[in-house]
Symmetry: C3
Subunit: 265 residues, 3 copies
């Protein structure tokens, strides 16, 4: 059996000593653990973004993997730290809702434990870096085969993030940008299926007050500079500019309204 | 034998869920694969840069390694996806010429296959993310020992990038900046050998209209702030500012002309 | 026994072919080596920052790990390259003082060897990239079990960086910012212990001429926007803004003076 895989997702930044510190602690407990960086560039303390990131990426992994997530604006306060099993995936994360969008994709209820057993933590726990002092050592111990039950009691409640809910009517889909990728493409919260059904006929798509010129299957179908609507690789309505940066050109960002509606012929 | 190594080179950005998704897919198929990040910060959709990056880095690796490259402005269009063997190195990449500078360093013709066998892809292939849906699973299967021949037919043609060709005369070398590194050093397309021969006598070096003060072997030989010409670690003429940023100070970037010529004594 | 771990810490930037080149060279010599990125975003050629980074992160690792550090403004000059054992940790680094803050945390004298044995280097050593041509291959050979003694003679002298020393008096602690993290938090060179003792009574903390409103144990204890003083996860006095960026709001950076003093009641 290959050595256990532990992924790391944080908002620490690539320049940070905090990522390296966590890696050191995990490998100190389980030198055979295989660390995989997902991202350390999540926008600082942005839980909605973290939720979207995890909902997009975790399902691509097999369920043997352990995911450690540190986006933690509430570090050192009363907020709990959790071990979560959701649709077979395993995560360690602060109780701030960052994994709840992932959970909504499934039908089974998650299994959630509160980390309260200091035996699996570092001896000195700082007030501001529970990633290094609690999550990293717990990840190390889990990867050695520790039964999660040893970590603490089952939790029956946890923080759930509110996500903007799109208004989906037969003739009109109204949502918003929830994520801007590295190319400036705008990923919305409007499901691709709903858009696909609506777009069987003529359709008008707008980002704020700006109209999107064309509906395409992929970027390469239109001329450079064209504003296009398509279904993203995560299955959502996406707005892009061919070989350009839609976020910049449309002054759009998370929260900018996006509407697709049936057009009179 | 150690577990197989797969490198990843993309223009996705460190903040992107796309890198993480590809890692999940590869490890889902071969949990023993060892992933090595080369860079995820290639300039978006810049094929010339990608070509330079691969020509510089791939030769440092042994030939057992598999390199997955996703700089893919043509995703979802007719452009093919390729398996390439070049000077013993193995790559998976879109057919956009990103590996052709690497191929020019060698003498043997490359072996190129077109990926057409969907059995080794993800079940649902999106129109905009072939890195996750085709290249990643194919990399996973190859790392398990799949014979590349199973991937598809031999290709006899592929896209070749045009690279700016320097004009190399006995008394004058005229080229351009092809790459700016993180320190602002300017790497040109003028071979170090040619410069070395010319610079046996007095020589004048200019970036655009700005003269370079000194020829050195390494940065530390001149005072801070001096503009220097030297031979880069990749064997090309390089222009730098000692303890400074040449790109910024000279307003230079890829494409800026660079000339080295014999000077009257 | 798990495969050997080699960490990489550089100022090359994530976009650089230099990181990838070093990885290729190490894995070419020892295909079983397990590479762990600490950071490639150290501020270019900033030795003080590198020293702080290493002093914070290396102690989190177990002593089996080999750390390769390339922040090397003097590359190609007479400066030596070193193999260092400090408090049981193993490093390869240029002789520029980047590891000396780490050494000060311990009581045992470091063991230092000069790398002079070209048998363990690449055949062609460039003048500007000793990370790839000397440190990477030496790391590969060490990870295969090479006795460090083969690398070169013991050194009795090495470069020591000067670090700003805080003035610690019973009623007044005067230091400076030595590190700004990704969130804009200001880490100072004033030991947390000293601050803790002083802050038993009423205390005034100032960054430059700006007063810090509150003393807290962790960020979450004060309202968003409050300037707070706390003890950092590395045990130093830290200045932060709750859910904000202290560096930006206070125009502070490494070198900005920080004072904590007893206040009249």
């Amino acid at each position: 059996m290959p050595d256990p895989i532990i992924t790391l997702t944080t908002d620490f930044g690539e320049d940070s000593p905090y990522v390296a510190s966590m890696k050191g602690v995990i490998l100190g407990i389980n030198p055979a653990a295989r660390l995989v960086d997902l991202s350390h560039q999540l926008p600082p303390q942005n839980l909605t973004h973290a939720a979207f990131f995890l909902a997009t990426t975790v399902p691509c992994f097999s369920t043997e993997v352990l995911h450690v997530v540190v986006v933690d604006p509430g570090v050192g306060t009363e907020r709990a730290l959790l071990y979560v099993e959701v649709e077979g995936h395993h995560l360690l994360a602060p109780d701030n809702g960052c994994w709840t969008l992932l959970a909504r994709q499934g039908s089974r209820p998650p299994r959630v434990l509160k980390l309260v057993e200091p035996r699996y933590w570092r001896q000195l726990v700082s007030a501001t870096f529970h990633g290094r002092d609690i999550l990293a050592p717990v990840a190390g111990h889990l990867s050695l085969g520790l039964d999660p039950q040893s970590l603490g009691p089952v939790a029956s409640e946890w923080v759930q993030l509110e996500f903007p809910v799109p208004a989906l009517e037969p003739d009109r889909l109204a949502g918003e940008v929830i994520f801007v990728d590295h190319y400036g493409n705008l990923i919305t919260n409007i499901p691709g299926d709903a858009f696909h059904a609506l777009a069987a006929g003529p359709v008008r798509v707008a980002v704020g007050s700006q109209e999107v010129a064309r509906r395409v299957r992929t970027y390469g179908e239109a001329e450079p500079g064209t504003f296009v609507a398509l279904i993203s690789s995560a299955g959502m309505l996406e707005i892009a500019v061919v070989q350009g940066n839609a976020a910049r050109l449309m002054c759009a960002r998370p929260g900018t309204p996006v509407v697709a509606e049936r057009r009179e012929m």
